[in-house]
Amino acid sequence: MYKYDNYDQTIVDERVAQFRDQTRRFLAGELTEDEFRPLRLMNGLYIQRHAPMLRVAIPYGLLSTQQMRMLAHIARKYDKGYGHFSTRQNIQYNWPKLETAPDILADLASVEMHAIQTSGNCIRNISSDHFAGIAEDELEDPRPYCEILRQWSTFHPEFSYLPRKFKIAVIGASHDRAAVQVHDIGLYLVKNDQGETGFRVLVGGGQGRTPYIGAFIREYLEKQHLLSYMEAVLRVYNRYGRRDNMFKARIKILVYALGPEKFAHLVEEEWEKIKDTPSLLLDQNEIDRLSAYFTSPDFDKTADQDTSFPEKLAADKAFATWAGRNVKRHKVPGYRAVIISLKAPANPPGDATDEQMDFIADMADQYSYNEIVVTHDQNLVLPHVKQVDLYAVWQKLKSKDLATPNIGLLTDMICCPGLDFCSLANAGSIPIARQINEKFNDLDYLHDIGEIKIKMSGCMNACGHHHVGHIGILGVDKKGVEFYQITLGGSAENDAAIGDRLGPGIKKEKVADTIGKILDVYLEQRIENERFLDTYRRIGMVPFKQHVYAKTAAPEVEVKAVASN
């Protein structure tokens, strides 16, 4: 993985000093709240319901075990002993004190980490495929480009006060595991007709109150022009994105107000003028230099000679169930990727305790070449586990409640912190996750339902990706009462789609029951092995709607969503 040199280390160290001074000036009254807010946000610090919330960047989700131990240490020393892994592959702490934030940043800097641009109207953490580097369907490892973009975007002087936040994802695989189509910019490594590798470029995806699937504006971009093309997109957005209304300020609104073709034309026009600027040309030496950081570990070439794995699968049903859901293929024979579920029934989705984090670091040291990856659906991955070790890994994970065999199943929900922590939220999400876990506690039923993605957000900002859930749940506030709007048919993968609204909002205590009714329709209507999403796409909304609202004598109050920020 990437290692800081003196330049990188100097920047994070200088950032700590700068933020320490900004915090001091705020506490001394030299900076007003309005002046300090964008500064602290650009360092991932929110003022939340109970305390500030600090979001720490995990570039493209990749962590060393040393870094994971530092995250555990921070949870223990400055917080209440846990952290929340987020849909941007970052981690959030819900209880730090503002005064201690500079110390936390200094601790992070000591392990080559930071919180730079994890919030604010700037270019955010670059996200990627959690199987980058190990996926069989990968054309090229996207992480060197993620790192190039991380450095280019860090404190970019022109693009630090954009109209709104800006999210970029890069993938190299054919299967989209990173929700690329709902990013402001999505970059796909592709081959052109000459067999060279470059990028296909998407812009204008986004969630929030007006969700859009992005549009492709360039089919092939040579690698050497990556940075100039990014500058062209960002410059057009910085100049023409709306600033009068924060709900209309994302690039998606500009792209779709102009039309993707016109937007693409503006970008190309700008790009023509800057594409040959020497300082923006990415030379192959730099690509090679960064790629060298992401080479594979020294894999054991005899790993595939193991015969114990199939034997254990046959002998231990519980192990086989876990392996069936939580163990994924690896491009090297004899190796597997293990997904550590942070979705145990009693666990707020995505949360891990300091003890679990330390434990996972130990596991990665022993079994996965010191690497851990955060997924955008809030689980962790041990990317390189020898199949001979899987049984031991499973047993150990189970002892820490980290082996719930539910990856891709109904209880593998994406969930934002919601009203319990977040000051933007209109409604709770964690209590709904709990309610769903309580109702759907029969593992056989969950396995029978099969692949289904439930995603929920406590407000229109859609941190919990509800628009792209097969079943989406959005919490809204109606005169002080929490209601939940359900959507069906969303997807964040290659077949990306924004979900359709089921109907009037559902009362809080009825959410899990409503999901039960939706699943009744699915079970009744599905054709053999058909996923929920495919059944929905085949039969449409009507049967679901009729069944869910059938027995309600009077319809629930129609809820109009109101965002609170």
Binding site: E14, E30, E35, I148, Q151, F155, P157, Y161, L227, R239
Partner: protein, 162 residues
């Protein structure tokens, strides 16, 4: 009035006229006029064969300003609020694309914590908001010694140094 120019605090004689009717005469002396006034009186002013100073806000297309840069010795870029980042792009275009070499001044909601970015985009003078400590603002230029990317300051991007 004191401004920061080339990383030093200096007394400055420019007077910014925020509003002026297009039919009024431009006052004598060193005045910064709204760009709209320039546009309305362009031919008349050019005939006087002087150098002028204009103030441009984010709504004005940089390309419009660029047409006349040979007549300007100072261009003020207005930050109506410090979070409005359009003028960063305008500054870069004036410097990098249109080769403007005169004074480029930040006016309006100009605060210490944005000066470093402004400088990197090609702004070289700063009218720091009056209620703020201008000496303190000078510290902004020394907070970072490393720049990952290039901008109007022509900083060598870090990767070319490695």
């Amino acid at each position: 009035m004191r401004v920061i120019k080339n990383n030093r605090i200096t007394d400055d004689e420019w007077q910014r006229i925020k509003e002026i009717d297009v039919v009024e005469e431009l006052p004598e002396g060193k005045v910064i006029m709204p760009f709209g006034y320039w546009q309305s009186n362009r031919d008349k002013l050019i005939a006087q064969n002087r150098k002028y100073a204009v103030c441009v806000n984010g709504d004005i297309e940089t390309e419009e300003v660029a047409k006349d840069i040979e007549h300007f010795e100072l261009i003020a870029l207005e930050f109506p609020i410090f979070t409005d980042g359009r003028s960063y792009s305008h500054a870069r275009l004036l410097r990098d694309r249109y080769g403007y070499t005169g004074e480029l001044r930040a006016v309006g909601d100009v605060l210490r914590d944005q000066l470093f970015f402004m400088q990197r985009c090609g702004i070289d003078s700063y009218q720091v908001r009056e209620d703020k400590n201008i000496e303190d603002a000078l510290k902004a230029f020394t907070e970072f010694s490393v720049k990952y990317q290039t901008a109007a300051d022509h900083a060598e991007p870090v990767y070319k140094l490695r």
